[in-house]
């Protein structure tokens, strides 16, 4: 069995490669068939009365067991196998592996939710996370493949003549990848907890076991073949509910092609809801609550004392009147909930005021779905300013996400694993095609769910709400909660509080599909999180073991020792990431998006100039990478609330922003400064050595014979 993922050895490379591809087609063909039968059998068992919690546990164990099986079959101690899967991954399979590597828990679960909540603005993520592959294809993948080493710092070390650029590369690779991997492990913990009902922390470590069995024994080789398996599960899981919902709403199995008309209906309903007196009534109530909190925040100690006295009086009154025990208990709970001191009260009331102010806006705070940018270019000065800033930030975010995509080390190393430059080029096409399948579906899903919400949930009497609304409110009120704020017995849009993740998670139930499909969706989210975590962990461990240990500390280490060190480090990094994840860091989402700006500023200028400009030299690269990173970091530290707190920055945010750009897009400044510094410093210092310039020529041609 261990030979399934090993190529034949007849000596004829082309024939071996063709035979290997054929074998892969057979293996994964059986795999898809087997997986579909597995889901159908579980569906039948559900009809026969298998309880839901069992279905969740079976999905969890079966998929993790499957990945572990592939991991064990692909175990290896050879360096080329461990680091780059033996460089014989065919273009299409590398495309699937890249797709799984790329699409994280955030893409799978969060993307459609972001689009639901932000409409057109969310399309920045869709374009940014796909258009970046154009940069990968035109500027990086074929050339890195021709270079043909093991890691991205490898390229920096060879091209920029020394260990200093390599060391900066190691630092930047770890900086981008570690925060990202923590977010994936948090995702694994949440999904595992949801599937099985176990505690979050146990979910984290269960998921960690799933990640380690894939990567520990077989490195890149094992990760590649599990990622292919994970891609297949995640795309099936994403598509089935969307297709079903599309058929249900309009008898159309490919809703991606026809949701434009639904978008028109949504725009008409939005128009009606904005002018609806009942909606305005709800908004006025939230506005009044926010105003009340503002008044309390003006004199916190006095307001706190008044609150406490009122709560105490109510308890005393109820007790005196011999009220039912339940009422007394409720009053006592209310008394206990009064903030203990002025500091707590300020924090709690400020948060509540922000929340109420947000909900006092029309459409529950969501922009109109089809509206491009906030503000109005033909309105007054303030509206024009809002419009310009909104548009500028939209474009800046796309830029950072695109360049960041083309600079994330765990994606770029995937193109080292193809057999040739030609296959590396083809492989980028396949990668983007497989990613495209999910990304062009997410905006459709967001519209389908909004259509469902506006037609069958908003404006419905509370007594007649669809069953899934009550179910989810019970499962997780942070994802969905409805309260009759204006007490008219009818649900207004303003009375719904919704968390983005519910869009994907609840779609099977909205479409009336059996629970087994909900389990499938959770398994798809798990596959997305695990596959991304695998690729990231491997990148971190290899940066440390290959680049730091082997290339810089002990260049005489034997192959088996190198792989051994790599495996040990993998374990250490994985445990460290799981530990950080178990603390549930609150600002993890910001850190993930920050990773794109960091990667863009640190790697993109140095990598592309290294290929396209022979004159770029060591000192240019060193100064450019450090300068780009430093500017990006400085901008974030002075404009992002959490980082400002960390570094004790107190000057107002508005004074620190440049052209009102959001901190998430700090790479907009880091990337051009990186390019600028590399060019200027390179020109001020000497040209690179002749053999380095020859290396650049070699990288540019798939096969360069001396003239």
């Amino acid at each position: 069995m261990a030979s399934i993922f090993a190529a034949g050895e007849s000596g004829n490379a082309a024939a071996d490669h063709a035979a290997f591809k054929k074998q892969l087609n057979k293996v994964y063909g059986w795999y898809i068939g087997g997986f579909i039968i597995f889901v159908i059998v579980l569906g039948l068992l559900e009809q026969m009365g298998l309880p839901r919690s069992w279905i969740g546990i079976i999905f969890l164990l079966a998929t993790i067991g499957l990945y572990a099986g592939i991991g064990i079959m692909s175990r290896t101690t050879e360096a080329a196998e461990y680091y780059v899967a033996g460089r014989r991954v065919p273009a299409m399979y590398n495309g699937m592996a890249t797709g799984a590597d790329w699409m994280s828990a955030a893409s799978f679960i969060g993307m459609a939710g972001t689009l639901y909540l932000t409409g057109y603005g969310g399309l920045a993520f869709i374009m940014g996370w796909t258009g970046g592959y154009c940069l990968v294809a035109f500027f990086l993948a074929p050339y890195l493949r021709k270079f043909g080493q093991f890691t991205i710092p490898d390229f920096l070390g060879a091209r920029y003549e020394g260990n200093l650029p390599r060391l900066i590369g190691i630092f930047a690779a770890i900086l981008c990848s570690f925060t990202y991997v923590v977010a994936q492990i948090v995702g694994v913990g949440i999904i595992t907890a949801r599937l099985t009902g176990l505690a979050f922390e146990i979910g984290v470590f269960l998921g960690l076991a799933g990640i380690l069995v894939c990567s520990f024994l077989g490195g890149m080789r094992a990760v590649t073949w599990t990622q292919v398996a994970q891609y297949i599960i995640l795309i099936i899981a994403y598509m089935i509910p969307v297709i079903w919902l599309g058929v249900q709403q309009s008898g159309m199995p490919i809703p991606q092609l026809a949701y434009g008309h639904k978008l028109q209906t949504i725009s008409q309903i939005e128009e009606k809801l904005i002018n609806d007196p009942k909606e305005k009534e709800v908004q006025a109530i939230f506005k009044a609550r926010a105003d009340e909190l503002s008044a309390k925040l003006k004199d916190v100690p006095a307001a706190l004392a008044a609150d406490k006295a009122a709560a105490q009086k109510r308890v005393a009154d109820l007790k005196a009147a011999n009220a039912p025990a339940a009422e007394v208990q409720a009053a006592e709970a209310a008394l206990a909930a009064v903030p203990a001191n002025a500091e707590d009260a300020t924090r709690a009331w400020t948060a509540a005021r922000t929340d109420n102010t947000a909900r006092a806006r029309p459409l529950g705070g969501m922009p109109r779905h089809a509206q491009q940018f906030a503000g109005n270019p033909d309105g007054d000065a303030a509206a024009q300013k809002t419009f310009n800033e909104s548009r500028r930030n939209f474009l800046a975010l796309i830029f950072c996400l695109m360049v960041g995509t083309a600079a994330l080390p765990h994606i770029l190393v995937r193109y080292y694993t193809t057999p040739s430059v030609k296959e590396a080029r083809d492989s980028v096409t396949w990668s983007l095609f497989f990613i495209f399948l999910l990304y062009f579906t997410a905006p459709a899903l967001a519209v389908l769910v909004k259509f469902e919400m506006f037609n069958f949930v908003v404006g419905t009497p509370f007594a007649n709400l669809p069953a899934w609304v009550a179910n989810w409110q019970q499962v997780d009120p942070t994802l969905l909660s409805v309260t009759d704020v204006n007490k008219d017995g009818i649900l207004q849009l303003g009375e719904i509080k919704i968390g983005g993740d519910i869009i994907v998670l609840a779609t099977p139930e909205i479409g009336g599909l059996p629970y087994v499909i909900s389990g499938l969706v959770a398994a798809g989210g798990l596959a997305a999180a695990l596959s991304t975590a695998d690729g990231l962990l491997l990148t971190i461990a290899n940066a440390l073991s290959h680049d730091l240990y082997y290339k810089m500390i002990d260049p005489n280490a034997t192959t088996s020792r190198r792989v051994g060190v790599s495996k040990a480090l993998l374990l250490v990094v994985a445990l460290a990431a799981a530990y950080v994840a178990s603390l549930k860091p609150a600002d993890i989402l910001f850190l993930v998006s920050a990773a794109f700006s960091f990667a863009a500023a640190a790697f993109f200028p140095a990598l592309t100039l290294g290929i396209f400009w022979k004159r770029a030299n060591k000192w240019g690269a060193v100064v450019g990478m450090i300068g780009g990173l430093a500017i990006t970091f400085y901008y974030m530290a002075t404009t992002q609330p959490w980082l400002r707190g960390l570094f004790g920055v107190t000057s107002p945010i508005a004074e620190n922003t440049w052209w009102a750009i959001q901190p998430i897009s700090a790479g907009l400044f880091g990337v051009p400064i990186g390019f600028f510094l590399i060019i200027v410093v390179s020109l001020l210092t000497g040209a690179p050595r002749q053999d380095t310039q020859d290396l650049v020529e070699h990288v540019r041609y798939p096969n360069l014979k001396a003239a």
């Binding site: 869709i126 026809a258 491009q372 096409t429 495209f436 041609y701 360069l704």
Partner: protein, 87 residues
């Protein structure tokens, strides 16, 4: 050893740069051109506002096609200029 390139090899690289530049112009127009004028490009396109459709689908389709075209063209160019692998 100093590497000297034949005129034909230089020609290959120039062609590569030209193809890359043209594709990057299209990439820029589709992404940032349509993005900048999104509010104005609001006419109905098969039911969608045009710029919304581009952001959610059109741009993605063009990205995939561009990468496919680049790979196909370069793989042929390799053969034509005698720089393909295995030659």
């Amino acid at each position: 050893m100093t590497l000297t390139l034949s005129e034909r090899q230089r020609e290959y690289w120039r062609k590569n740069l030209r193809i890359t530049a043209v594709l990057m112009v299209i990439w820029f127009l589709v992404t940032f051109g349509v993005g900048y004028f999104a509010r104005d490009l609001n006419f109905t396109f098969f039911g969608w506002p045009f710029s919304f459709w581009v952001g959610g689908q059109g741009a993605l389709i063009i990205y995939v096609l561009m990468i496919w075209y680049y790979a196909r063209t370069m793989n042929r160019l390799d053969q034509e200029f005698g720089v393909a692998e295995g030659e």
